[in-house]
C-alpha cells in the first residue's frame, strides 16, 4: 500500500479514536490527559519523519530544499514542545491549567519562526517561477476578510488579554504571541491554498495544499486554545486538540506526497 494511503488511513483512525474518547468522556480524566498529550506527540513525530524524508529527497541545496528544511525544523521544534508538555503534565504532574508558560511554550514560540520563513520562501519562490499569482480580485476580497479576522482576534483576544490585570507579564507575552504568531502563519497558508487552487487537478501543488491546510487547522485550534486558556476554560481533552493532530498529519501528508512526486519523475516516459 502506498505511504500516502497509509497515512490517510492513520489520520482517519486518529480522528475517530480522538473524537470518540473526547466526546464520550468514557475513560476517565487520566486517560483523557494521556490521549490528549500522547496523540500530538505521535502525530508530530509522524510529521517530522515525513518532512525529513521530503527534505532528503531534494538532492541539491537550493531554495526549495531550504524552504522545506525550514518547515521541518519548525515541526521538529513543535514535536519537542509536545514531548516536553506531555512530560511535564504526565510524568512531573505539573498542573498545566495553573502553570503558564512552561518550557514547552518557549519551544513552540521558537518553532513559529522557521515555519513562517518556510511558508514565505515558498510564496516568494512561486512569485519568481513565472506562474500566475491568480486573479487579483481574489486578493482584493481576501484582504478585507483577513483584516476582518485580524480585527476579531484583536478585539476578542488581544485587547482583553492586554487589559487583564490578573495575568502576569510573561504569561501575557505568550498569550499574545500565540495568536499573533498564528496570524503570521495563517496568512501565507491561505495564499498558498489559493495559489494551489490555480493548478486544478494537477498533482504538483498537492504537497503545498496539504501543508497549507495543515497549518490552517493548527491556527484555528491555536486561536481557540488561546481564547479558552486565557479564560481558564481549556483542559487537556478539549475537542480542539483534534485540530492539532489533523494539522500535524496533513503536514506530514504534504511531505509524503512531495516524496512520491519526486520519485515519480524517474518513472515519467
Amino acid at each position: 500500500m502506498k505511504k500516502t494511503k497509509l497515512l490517510w488511513l492513520f489520520l482517519g483512525l486518529i480522528v475517530v479514536v480522538n473524537l470518540t474518547i473526547y466526546l464520550s468522556r468514557c475513560c476517565g480524566e487520566a486517560t483523557l490527559t494521556l490521549v490528549g498529550d500522547l496523540f500530538p506527540v505521535i502525530c508530530s513525530l509522524v510529521s517530522v519523519l515525513c518532512l525529513f524524508t521530503a527534505v532528503r529527497k531534494f538532492r541539491e541545496w537550493d531554495f526549495t530544499k531550504v524552504a522545506w528544511l525550514m518547515l521541518f525544523i519548525g515541526i521538529v521544534l513543535y514535536f519537542i514542545a509536545e514531548v516536553t508538555y506531555g512530560f511535564l503534565e504526565i510524568i512531573l504532574k505539573v498542573d498545566m491549567a495553573v502553570v503558564f508558560p512552561t518550557l514547552a511554550d518557549y519551544i513552540w514560540c521558537i518553532g513559529y519562526i522557521p515555519v513562517f520563513i518556510g511558508l514565505i520562501m515558498m510564496i516568494s519562490g512561486y512569485r519568481k517561477s513565472g506562474f500566475p499569482m491568480g486573479n487579483y480580485k481574489v486578493y482584493g476580497i481576501m484582504g478585507p476578510l483577513l483584516l476582518l479576522l485580524l480585527s476579531l482576534v484583536i478585539i476578542f483576544l488581544l485587547v482583553p488579554i492586554i487589559k487583564d490585570t490578573e495575568t502576569t507579564g510573561i504569561a501575557k507575552f505568550f498569550y499574545l504571541f500565540y495568536p499573533i504568531g498564528d496570524l503570521f502563519i495563517v496568512f501565507p497558508a491561505i495564499i498558498l491554498v489559493y495559489i494551489t487552487s490555480l493548478f486544478g487537478r494537477g498533482f504538483i501543488s498537492r504537497p503545498w495544499k496539504l501543508l497549507a491546510l495543515g497549518f490552517i487547522f493548527f491556527t484555528v485550534s491555536d486561536l481557540l486554545y488561546s481564547y479558552l486558556d486565557w479564560l481558564g476554560k481549556y483542559d487537556t481533552g478539549n475537542i480542539i486538540d483534534v485540530g492539532w493532530n489533523i494539522g500535524y498529519l496533513l503536514i506530514g501528508l504534504g511531505g509524503i506526497y512531495q516524496v512520491e512526486m519526486i520519485e515519480s519523475l524517474n518513472e515519467v516516459r
Binding site: R59, T64, G125, S129, G130, F199, G200, G202, F203
Partner: protein, 79 residues
C-alpha cells in the same frame, strides 16, 4: 483535453497537464514558446532544449533543481 497539431507541443502538454493541470499546461507551453520566439504549433525538436530550460525555471520551486532538471531533460528529448 487540449489537442495540438504540433507533435512536440502535444507531447509536452501530455507530460505537463497531469502535473500542473490543463489550463496551466496550456498557458505554460504558450508563454514559454512565445518567450523564445515561437508559437505552440511551430515547436520543433531543435527548439526543445531552450523550451525545456524555460519550463524548468517555473518548476524548480515545486520539484527542486534536481527534479526540475530531470523533467527538463525529458522535455528536451520528447520528440
Amino acid at each position: 483535453m487540449k489537442v495540438y497539431n504540433n507533435v512536440c507541443a502535444q507531447r509536452i502538454y501530455e507530460l505537463l497537464a497531469p502535473m500542473i493541470g490543463d489550463l496551466m499546461a496550456r498557458g505554460t507551453i504558450r508563454s514559454k514558446a512565445n518567450f523564445i520566439g515561437l508559437t505552440e504549433e511551430t515547436i520543433s525538436s531543435g527548439d526543445l532544449p531552450r523550451l525545456a530550460a524555460e519550463i524548468k525555471k517555473g518548476l524548480v520551486v515545486f520539484l527542486g533543481s534536481d527534479g526540475a532538471e530531470k523533467l527538463a531533460m525529458k522535455i528536451s528529448q520528447i520528440c
